[in-house]
Symmetry: C2
Subunit: 613 residues, 2 copies
């Protein structure tokens, strides 16, 4: 198949003597993004032969001679074609005169998606000619997919939102855009860092997961306010909706505290938020880690809807129900519940069954469904043991309505909350598949989560500690004494920004005191301090108090555009296996090209053997 890609004959053939029509069909995508942000409209036709973009034509252009460039989107009965560029569509009448026979032939034979340049006079749409329906292009080839309205919208919105962020940071608040290296040293425990062999035998660079060390060194270096739209790398093998390379808005400030960073980010998002969405309302609400866990059973709650977890332990102090009794008799035992609005109307018996099975299988927990409407079956062998006074107290505490269902569980606080947090989301999904709108798709619900624990017990050895986030996080000012007595109880100055149930950012006030940093690394975390000696030394030479944050740009744009996957907001994403399917990446390399790097490929059988060993 031969696709001519530039019909210069066409341009000549279509010049002056022939009547042609150009006509707006789409609204202009780009202009709607731009006008709403009250900026000067860019000159899209500077430096090139076209006089206008397709989406730009309006009734004010009627009678004007224009030149357009684009792709043939569609052709109908050899009478007109639809020309498309990044900005919109225009209908072009194919000349029918005998004198233009050669032009007609080319236009009628050129395959769709051929590139053409046309000149002509703008006229109104002839009566009776309908808009052709825009058909979605196939996703088979990324460069064709990029031509789709949605990808054009996503990538252009991303570019503009980042530009506004830069204006806010650079022009309004004096941040310095500084590029930090991506060929760096492996960090302690950096098992997820890609390696880059160097020309020195056995020596490797590492692609860092974030510019964390550099941003702190820049503060020591007196740069005061740093930001970077930073490419970061993480090798997690195959993970759905993750990318081996990703982008974060990376920020660090000197002489700042937690509330300063929070105000900065609130202003940043408000300033850069697309004007075709509802404005961002600031300040964002803040909850502590303990509060979100107790209320939503997760540290990244979706606060667009209620169904909060309620502690109903007091209701059941004198219960006769065995598993509640049992739970409440233990030191941290609680009874917790969530209320499913109109659950009696929308949930089916088998939904309740699968909820109970899920709780049993994944949490080893019992779930008791309570139908508040007395006419209903309580649908559970134990439900009858709930006394009327308990039922009324439950209705009061849970603020339930007649058709609601309460899901009740009992057990250790954290475990009960985690289970109900999961069920809250599962039930929301279920209700929405049944037509209930719980989560308004136009709503953006931000939340700060603060006061995280500074350390967690190590998974592989719970008697040792590891950093809940990273070892440079400063302890909460009220909890510094705990570092020397009960470090497990110390809270940190870490903060997460959550949007609609997704963590879109995280950061902290850092440790700027070398002694404290050494104590945490060496004594509490038992890390090899040598790997970080440059950072510790830098802190010794006068480090300002400082803190920062990183926003996950791909996820943020994904949420803003309402895209199903971050792959929809990245021009050339990798598959979930980390492959570029367009170019067949990664690929083999001839052995002689490995030699300068002093490496050899070990056969899988070798490495399997080694693993077994």
């Amino acid at each position: 198949m031969y696709f001519p890609s530039w019909l210069s004959q066409l341009y000549r053939g279509l010049s002056r003597p022939i009547r042609r029509t150009t006509q707006p069909i789409w609204g202009s995508l780009y202009r709607s993004l731009l006008q709403s942000s009250q900026r000067r409209i860019p000159e899209f036709s500077s430096f090139v032969v076209r006089t206008n973009t397709c989406g730009e034509l309006r009734s004010s252009h009627l009678g004007q001679e224009v030149t357009l460039c684009g792709w043939i989107q569609y052709r109908r009965q050899n009478t007109f074609l639809v020309l498309r560029d990044f900005d919109g569509l225009v209908q072009v009448i194919i000349p029918q005169d005998e004198s233009a026979a050669s032009v007609k032939k080319i236009l009628c034979e050129a395959p769709v998606e051929s590139v053409v340049q046309v000149s002509g006079t703008v006229i109104s749409r002839p009566a009776g000619q309908e808009n052709p329906k825009t058909e979605a292009l196939r996703l088979q080839y990324r460069y064709l997919d990029l031509r789709s309205f949605q990808m054009q919208y996503n990538l252009r919105l991303r570019s503009q939102m980042v530009m506004k962020m830069r204006e806010y940071l650079c022009n309004l608040h004096g941040f310095v855009d500084i590029e930090t290296p991506t060929l760096f040293k492996r960090t302690p425990g950096g098992a997820k860092e890609f390696l880059v062999p160097s020309r020195e035998p056995g020596k490797f660079y590492s692609l860092p997961q974030s510019p964390q060390q550099f941003k702190q060194l820049l503060m020591v270096g007196g740069l005061d306010r740093y930001f970077q739209v930073a490419r970061c790398y993480r090798d997690e093998g195959s993970r759905p909706d993750r990318q081996p390379e990703f982008t974060q808005i990376d920020i660090e400030m000197s002489f700042v505290d937690q509330t300063g960073i929070q105000s900065l980010i609130e202003g940043l998002l408000q300033y850069s938020w697309p004007n075709d969405k509802d404005p961002v309302v600031v300040p964002f609400p803040t909850m502590t880690f303990a509060e979100v866990l107790a209320t939503y059973g997760t540290d990244k709650p979706d606060t667009r809807f209620g169904m909060k977890i309620i502690d109903i332990s007091d209701v059941f102090r004198n219960t006769e129900i065995g598993f509640l009794q049992d739970a409440l008799s233990k030191p941290h035992g609680t009874v917790k519940a969530i209320c499913i609005p109109e659950g009696a109307k929308y949930l089916k018996r088998k939904d309740i069954e699968s909820i109970r099975n899920f709780a049993a299988d994944h949490f080893n927990q019992e779930i008791l469904p309570v139908f508040l409407n007395a006419n209903r079956n309580w649908n559970s062998p134990v439900a009858n043991f709930i006394m009327e006074s308990q039922r009324l107290e439950l209705i009061r505490l849970m603020e339930t309505q007649e058709e609601d269902v309460v899901l009740l569980t009992a057990g250790e606080h954290n475990k009960a909350c985690s289970l109900l947090g999961k069920l809250r989301l599962e039930c929301a999904d279920l209700l929405e598949t049944r037509g209930v709108v719980l989560r308004d798709p136009t709503l953006f619900s931000f939340l700060w989560v603060v006061d995280f624990p500074l350390f967690l017990p190590k998974e592989e050895n719970p008697r040792e500690l590891e950093s809940a986030h990273h070892p440079f996080t400063a302890p909460h000012p009220s909890d510094i004494h705990l570092l020397y007595t009960e470090p497990k109880k110390a809270r940190s100055q870490h903060y997460d920004l959550v949007l609609n149930g997704n963590e879109i950012g995280g950061g902290s006030i850092r440790i700027h005191n070398a002694e404290l940093q050494r104590y945490i690394l060496a004594t509490l975390l038992k890390e090899d301090v040598k790997m970080l000696s440059h950072l510790l030394q830098a802190l010794d030479y006068g480090a300002p108090p400082h803190g920062g944050i990183a926003l996950g740009l791909d996820r943020l744009i994904c949420l803003v555009t309402g895209s199903p996957s971050i792959r929809d907001v990245i021009a050339f994403p990798k598959s979930f296996r980390g492959h570029d399917l367009m170019s067949n990446t990664p690929d083999s390399v001839p052995p002689e090209e490995l030699k300068p790097y002093h490496i050899r490929v070990s056969k899988p059988t070798d490495s399997k053997a080694e693993r077994a060993h």
Copy 2:
């Protein structure tokens, strides 16, 4: 040594009751950059406790209560100290009252470079207190070096210049900022590309030298106008003043020709140029590759000064001087010369000798120095063979003055030009060490070089061709027929941008026709087309005519700031051996961390043996 880095006691101790002085000493670095660019002054003190930056204080602040944060730069006789932040210096009077004894003790004992926060009233400088001299900090530690005025200036200028470029491209001309992958496929012949082992045995990613393929695919994808401040990678081993990772302003446009790209870049540089420099004058002059070679002996001439190469073959058609006769008798033989202004005054006999030795050693060429002043020794055994008429004609052609020296050589055109091009720069350096100002350091002399050859003979096999730049470069429209007859003679649509003798950018109009691209890759270059099948296929699906350019940002900022090395405009540069000396990068990796990547280190002895083999 213990450096307290945050004296919060100091802040409390210094509050209200004590008289303190804050006083501007430096002009404000940042503000001078900003005011000249006529932007709103950023609010450097938003979100933090300080009320002002050090450099901000003016006589208008006298009597105001301010809070400042910064480093102790200097202390004198326990009476005052100098506080420094990124923006400037302020003198702070140390309280001498008995009641403030503890504060005085802390302030007098804190080591310089400690971080403090002070509050106080702004007063005028007391008579008799001199400005302390600002001392350059040692370059031993990068984070300390970054505190220097010059590094702060360079990094802030870089940030602001890039910001202006973004404004020009995004806001004024509708470019879309698109991030392209850096984990990609090895390109054919990509021997300088770093490898990144993947978790699939024997499969590697490659860190690309530029986003070339992606930017073209974006044009096929209808993005129309793309730009990116792109991180690029090149593994050249040890090279002075090169970095393994570097940054380019990467641009691609659809429906554009060479003059369009040139106008865009001229506008871009004019718009983003720092206002403390002379404005950029556009359009830039343009010369062909053949012209610059004949005139300056190089494709990146320093056009800040003359000393152009002149063809004086005609003067010597009837010469009796052997080596000239000899050269002119050959097919491409020429006689060429450059004129060293006031060379007779500034060059010494041993300079002339070393020039002649250089020509003999490196070019196997003879150099004849001609002193135009008849009173001088001609200083050469053959000089007497130059006839008076030839001497007069030489003076006319070369426009020489009495004290000038002409350096004359003979031979094949390209070789003679290359030699004289080198000598032109050598002599300019010599003259400048003797006090002559040839190259005005405030002058920025841009030049477009166009009409490069499309192909060059392969170094290792001159009967085969290789691309002069890259295989996607479009042929010159007038030379397309030559591709099928004499491809060696075809010129390209490549263009270079040269500034003061440095190539700071290069680009081309690309091939957008799949058939032509296939012919050039497969038939002329004998490349394996399979490696590029995705790009060829994309061209088959309707590719707009397109072209682009990349500017080397590090080099550009280096020239703009007058820095001796690109390391002075990069926050954390690598040494010329590719090491990060601060953190000891690259570094060893434990063998078990190599296993997931199916690689092993081969011992140097192995690879030496293999190389020998």
